[in-house]
Symmetry: D2
């Protein structure tokens, strides 16, 4: 295949996957925004399209005709350079454009994109197209987590894919395969090169590659399981202030949390709990990695167990030696620029850099991450209290400091 | 026709009208709740059905089968006697039940209701059925105002019925027919019987009928027009604190209001304004009655003009002599029980009485009120800052007090 | 005495009483504003002085020198006509001016006022002086209630006047003298003149005098006692939604109230309760009138007892036949202008009229009302949830409506 | 001198300094809490005393008598292990205990402490006493910043020490001595030992000492000056979104900030600005280091200038080669535990560790830091938007990453 063919095929494949992910939804499911962090599925479908329209077509194709003059206002997420945009919490107030109109928008943009992708591209344009596809893959995971939130917080608890036969293998969410819990890998203290190198795609926040010094630690092969987390709960984990950050303790007290998101008491289960999954409400799989925990909970659990969370560099140094990719793994590293990081010029420079304060880095990927999107140097980031993503906990044991 | 036939026909007519009002909507339009006061159309369709299911079928028909065990939780509005219910601001978070499922719910309840209505009813049950129909008619007006809010606050400003050929005559909204502005009716000071008498239906808050003393006043035949309101705006009405209640002034300052709801600056219009209507964005009709004003605005306008709002009894004493029914007319009367008012026993006792504090009475009806639902003794009520209903202003001139 | 002497004596007497009320306080007690409704005692002392400076001296005395150019900004309460003022919730942020500086401000203004009052005054000026004194008397009651709030919400519960020997007879707060509880007065249905007549001082909201129609009712000679209120509490009064206004029920649920303000559980008391008074924490006096209840609580109590609150006109028609003046008595009347009410021109027109929405009228007076300040036609007003004033409950029994 | 004498002398010296810092205040100045972060001076005086009473006397002296049973509730800041405490935002609601009573509390505790300190102490107890003194020194700086906030946000702008002759040299606040602005120190890329070593006192968050890898950078000898910051402002620094973190931009837009805290427009100054200092409102000293900037502002300034903030390790590696101690210098390092950090057992373990999320490290000290309290390894920490501390900006120039 020519490079153009490869790119075009990839474009079509990425774009169609977003639509397939929404196929099991009713029109109504595309609309709500139950909390500010969760966007309507319809919005994701349109926003990813707006990205190509705005940063590729409108800038590269002189004769490109905007699909609708107001869609830029509606579907810009946060790019200040691209002008005013709808306030984020208002996304769920919009019944229009309808799903059908959003699909027409996608078709309109895809048609122009496909025409363009048949021709060779300037490297800078090719990079923007690639960025658009990576961006859409990020939103594909958000589609899954936001759909789970919308359906899972509905008192009717409808399943997204009850039989597990849909576009994404949702049975992987509660897969109970688990390495031995006492299997720890030794990571030696060392100065080691971190971050993205080489020719493949990476986001700007993974660069520049640089040396980092890590301490010697042991890192566990297995993620923390539901069963281990239940022991923490039964031992009063949510009632003991000493295990928590001060603001984590406030969070727990104010919101009266006593379990991960989506768990619900179920007297019919031996362990007393069920949880909502994309297949509907199910018993817990005891050996599956615990998920939907906040950074506060991940920290408190580790404190209780006598462990701690890894730094992002400890994680990166060890990850090739264990199996990762089932949960986004909270690290104790705050999200900061790498030494020498410089944001790009223009709107694309807003992609990552401006979020580098007050967030924690998560490493790895989750079962809901799009195929081909995971990477050892990938840096995901969320605020400490958030837990609607498929987060998890990987334990580290400190050694004496050098 | 037998009384049973009459009642059945009326039931079918009322119920089908709700569905026809939603016919121009997309499935998506049924979902959002952009502010707490505005409910999703889907919710109105289900809640009015729940009313019949809960207060009639479940209590009167021993073999009635609930359509869904959780719908009581989802679609109870505020009846504490009927158990827990979804918090009001969460209504827009629900994508399920879908519109189709809500329609199936309606069909299920309607089938049982129709069967029941073929037989003679105990008077108490007949009264509940009538209350259910009156209740649904109230929600039909809310359907229209809530649909207007959802579409009118969408930056795309889609029309509900662009051609004015739908189930409700939306051209009446901006009808500019207007009596002479200097036509005032004299109402003599008198002691006069107020409130509902006789055999027809009325809500409990219209009773008991009782004597009220009113002062002599002049009341205008015409409502305040858009043109008059524009003069108030041009004369600095929104900038002069002395015209406003203290909390009205705070409201104006905080929310930066400068015009009624749905007005938008339009440099292409001679008067500088357009407004969103159910037919889409249109120029103002200068002689149409101003609408979508809060009690604060109605009061400030009157203060500016040297007039005041009527009390609800002045209104009721005079209304047979002028044409009313185009706007809900703010009165200066706070919503209080009539002398001798006693709430009913049971859940139905929650219908009106518990709202009798901190609201203003509105009298009359609006162009969006359901056919046959208006009544001279009708007491509508809203909080002072609200303006998404089709409210209006009727001027009164005081005379010297006796 | 000449009219000038009488006025001067009254001025000195009113002014000095404010200072005497603060005599038992520490300097620190003059500073806090624990909630927005409660102002620092220092602020009351300065604001009442600002009233004379602004509305009398600065306007009438050409050579009057403002004490400080910024005090107008600091001590204007809400008179928009007099320019910008400190936001109300900021009053407790100010440590300066100190109490001593405020006292110097008072002395400065008093000196000019005394000089002026020695001469005959234009009637309009005399009216402003009188208004200033009435205004200061209103703030004297607020001084007492605000001091009670500041000290009573301090976990140390310091007494204002432990021995009851201070400038105000604080033992009257818990005086248990009580008329027979089954003594009811009959008020006949009638048209009767209400509101202020005659030459004495009254606030603008008491005028114009006008005819009102009242229904026949029975009104109780005794206020509701602590003992009666305890029966309501023991009978689940705070747990039964059907007794409450909808917004009252929200208020109770959200704030978890279970008793009047200042009550605290005390296992050492036979009735299980103590309460904070200006003499410190004491047992309840069972026959003393219950106090510190909101309108919501007053309404719920009456609903439970099978009674209701009086309208303000029922109260005014009957009050000459019972003993009143111990508690501000909630009425079911919303605060509205009397027929023919017109606000005064200028800043003084802001005194009352702009608050005539969303408040309830209270009639009578309380033990903390300044001597000579009570009046049968007096209309006090507060928002329904407030209860830091010395409020009380007078029962009415409805008869059949006419 | 014996070790006991040295310790006793130090104790008396530290304790008396707190009281001297409050000497210029009125009683009223000790009371307000204008925002939640700013505590009343009275509270600082009592809380530092409570620390000795609770962690030393009550635990070590069997016959120690608590001064007041409720002071633990009032003056515990956040030690969950020590039981319930007053909610932080309520500190300004308390007029009692008065300043005099707080001084009596101090005298009571000091008397017991002095008696105890005359005898040799167990090392663990000696460490707690030392911690108490260090803790009080931290609160001495907070006393200065909180006093500045209380007086500086009062519209009267009273000076704390107009002549600069008080207990602290307040003229140092606006000292304009400045090294050359183009003087940069080269820091080589290296692995270097960081954190506290040796026998002297340090807080737990400075340990363990460990190796860190730093990149080669240039660090400027001079802090950013008022003059440089004015250039940033004039160049639209507060209006250009691209310079800011996303949440910094929200902060600027929402709060409408356009200059550092305490700056106020002054048309009489050539540069257009004055600022409030502890000597009262003054012109800016152009070469003095800018202060009262948030982390967001420090970051935006550096981004504008083409520089960046140092990491805390770059700072520590270079600080011995420049003059520091005038401003707390924001670093780009998030506040995280050092490798191998373990919190202490018991209440003292709450001292630092539980705050290690969502804050930025500041290094150095300020002119208001207590004598003898500064240290090269000291780690101060605040949330990104806070700016009432004496913060400053030290520029770094990146080199190419290794």
């Amino acid at each position: 295949m020519t490079p153009e063919n490869i790119r075009l095929t990839r474009y079509v494949s990425v774009r169609s996957r977003s639509e397939r992910l929404c196929a099991p939804l009713s029109a109504e499911d595309h609309v709500p925004q139950p909390v500010s962090d969760v966007s309507p599925p319809k919005w994701h479908l349109a926003h990813t399209t707006w990205f190509f329209e705005t940063f590729v077509l409108a800038k590269q194709q002189p004769d490109y005709r905007l699909f609708h003059p107001l869609y830029g206002y509606l579907f810009n997420s946060y790019y200040e350079s691209e002008g005013a945009h709808l306030a984020r919490p208002q996304r769920g107030s919009l019944s229009r454009p309808t799903v059908a109109e959003v699909m027409a928008y996608r078709a309109h943009v895809d048609e122009s994109m496909r025409r363009m992708l048949k021709e060779p591209l300037e490297p800078a344009v090719a990079a923007l197209v690639e960025l658009g596809m990576q961006h859409e893959q990020q939103h594909q995971e958000l589609l899954i987590t936001d759909i789970k939130y919308i359906l899972g917080h509905n008192p009717l608890h409808p399943a997204y894919d009850p039989l597990g036969i849909g576009p994404q293998d949702v049975t992987a969410e509660h897969d109970g395969t688990c390495p031995p819990l006492d299997d720890w890998l030794s990571v030696e203290g060392q100065t080691i090169r971190m971050g993205h190198q080489g020719p493949g795609f990476a986001f700007d926040n993974e660069s520049p590659s640089h040396l980092a010094l890590i301490q010697g630690v042991d890192i566990r092969v297995a993620l923390v399981t539901n069963d281990e987390y239940l022991q923490f709960m039964r031992d009063g984990g949510y009632q003991r202030h000493s295990l928590w950050h001060a603001e984590g303790w406030d969070w727990v007290q104010t919101l009266k949390f006593r379990a991960p998101m989506y768990w619900q008491p179920d007297p019919n289960q031996p362990d007393g709990w069920g949880h909502y999954t994309l297949q509907g409400v199910m018993p817990l799989t005891s050996q599956a990695p615990v998920t939907h925990v906040s950074y506060y909970e991940a920290h408190a659990f580790c404190d209780w167990a006598g462990w701690r969370l890894p730094t992002e560099f400890e994680w990166e140094a060890a990850a090739s030696r264990f199996d990762w990719g089932r949960r986004w793994e909270w690290t104790r590293s705050a999200y900061q620029p790498y030494p020498g990081f410089a944001r790009s010029e223009g709107a694309v420079g807003e992609y990552n850099g401006k979020f580098m304060v007050n967030q924690q880095v998560l490493r790895g990927a989750s079962w809901a991450t799009s195929p081909g999107h995971a990477r050892l140097t990938y840096r995901n980031f969320f605020h400490a209290p958030l837990r609607w993503q498929f987060t998890g906990i990987r334990p580290v044991r400190s050694r004496e400091s050098a």
